[in-house]
Amino acid sequence: MKQKKYLNAITLLLSVIFTVLLIPFNVDAQMIPDERLLPRLVDNADLLTNSEEEKLLDKLDSISEKHQTDVAIVTVYSLEGKTATEFADNYFDYNGYGFGPNRDGILFLISMEYRDWAITIHGSGIETFTDAGQRYMTEQFLSYISDAEYAKGFNKFADLSDQFLKQAAKGEPYDYGHLPKKPLAWYWLPAAIGLGVIIAFSVVGGMKANLKSVRRKVGADDYIAADSFVLTDQRDIYLYSNVTRTAKPKESSSGSSGGGSRGGSRTHTSSSGSRHGGSSGKF
């Protein structure tokens, strides 16, 4: 019995120690909630008008429900000393974003203080939004945000997310070498018109030249008497020569070819211990 008492005491002691050890951890690290605590659009930096907000939120909700993946947009004023990626990851984790047990989702964050942006992805979002895919998306919508056309940029982000999720549902997410076709750059329109004008000019120019057939004769070659051309003296006298030299252009060392874009998504682990993918930058 005595032994059992000891055992109980040890167990108690250990539990106390454990509890003591665990308490600060639990207090410091917030719990990942089971339910999403915030709407899919959080405009803390107040970049959108109320009606824009309303419409965009509707859009995000319907896309998210449709694909069972949260598509969220967060604007803040400051990253509170964190990097954009850390902030986005934490925001995603501790506010319970993500659909289903795997917490599938994508969150786009912009912070106005130093004009940072970040995308964080989680769960199945990691497969859906690959690194190459995110690069493609940001190329399409980030310029609007840089130009302070926030509503346009966010809507574009939502549409692109929709497009990517649709493609992923087919089992073949967009990735390096397999991206949606970009819209044609604007200069192709004037270029095509210019080409048309140039070609049309040369064709009708040819048609116009076709109308002209009167030309003076340059020589009298037709009237050279047969075999009448005789050379009586023919000398090629070497006079002199000179040599010039030019320095060879120094060959510049060939630039290192970049690491090359690989497919898929690189991931990291956020402070809450969950695996995230994503990208970030300035706008």
């Binding site: 044609l184 004769k217 009237y223 009586t232 090629d236 020569s241 320095a247 060879k248």
Partner: protein, 361 residues
Amino acid sequence: MAQLLDFKCPSCGGAINFDSQIQKMKCPYCDTEFEMDAVKQYEEAIQNEHEQDDFTWNIKADSNWQEDELNNYAAYVCMSCGGQIVGDTTTSATSCPYCDNPVVIAGNIAGDMRPDYIIPFKLTKEQAKQGLRNHIKGKRLLPKQFKDENHIDKIRGMYVPFWLFDTKADANFRYKGTKTSTWSDSDYVYTKTSYYSILRSGNIAFNSVPVDASSKMPDDLMESIEPYNIAELTDFNAGFLAGYLADRYDVPADDCIERANHRVRQSTEDRFRSTVSGYKTVAQENSNIKLSDGKANYVLYPVWVLNTSWQGEQFTFAMNGQTGRFIGDLPLDRKAYWKWFGLIALIVAVLAYAAAWLFLR
């Protein structure tokens, strides 16, 4: 050796002298070295170049018209444009081949020069009309009126006076030629340029270089329907004129010579130049052409002619009556021009944009 001191450097023009150390001629200004023999030959060639070009011609005295020819043919003049033609007196109503207005008899042709030779018409009016149809076929920018058959029917056979010049040419040419070779080592690319003096002398003969002797007929048009086959040249007989018109000669041979000289010179230069090969660059430095045995004949060449005025402008078409070569500038239909331009530009622009859309995204 003493006179060699006067030699000029072929490279820079400075006086060159003999360098005893290298046993060569050397230019003290540009340091170029020359072989003694080359300098001598070059200097000799230049010494002989003081002669002037000589383009002199003997113009054959004309023969006189025969009695019956004078009775049957008359000179006509157009009261509208002043064009002068020769035709047989039996053709009562004749219209001017240039402006379509009626012509009147101006007098007999006794004072005119009688042609030495003639090339008779070989192609019929029907063939001339076909020639015109072929000429305008596929010309999309041609105004529609020009395809009108009534209009085509007005094509007319006319003998056009020409001077034919025969001559021999003696010529000397000097060219400067360069040859280059390049090689390189690790640091430099070397280019060696060698300079040559190229001498060509020889002779060449020309037969029957034609020059239009009618001021009314455009010279460029007449040159465009060349050449005529002079093997078919026959002695002139007024009988050949029956049923055709003949343009009246009004440009004397002396005034035509310049054009003949120009063409003879051009061909002579081209022919001699063609014997210089193997050089990277060739520049003619001197030429000297002397003509000899030059003579001129007065002949009639057969031409089918159609004159048309369109929007105040005169368009003349001509067909070589011997070979069938058809020439004539055609007017441009501005509307058709821009229509085609717009259509092509649109199609190409759409295709280019579509191609860019498909392949360049």
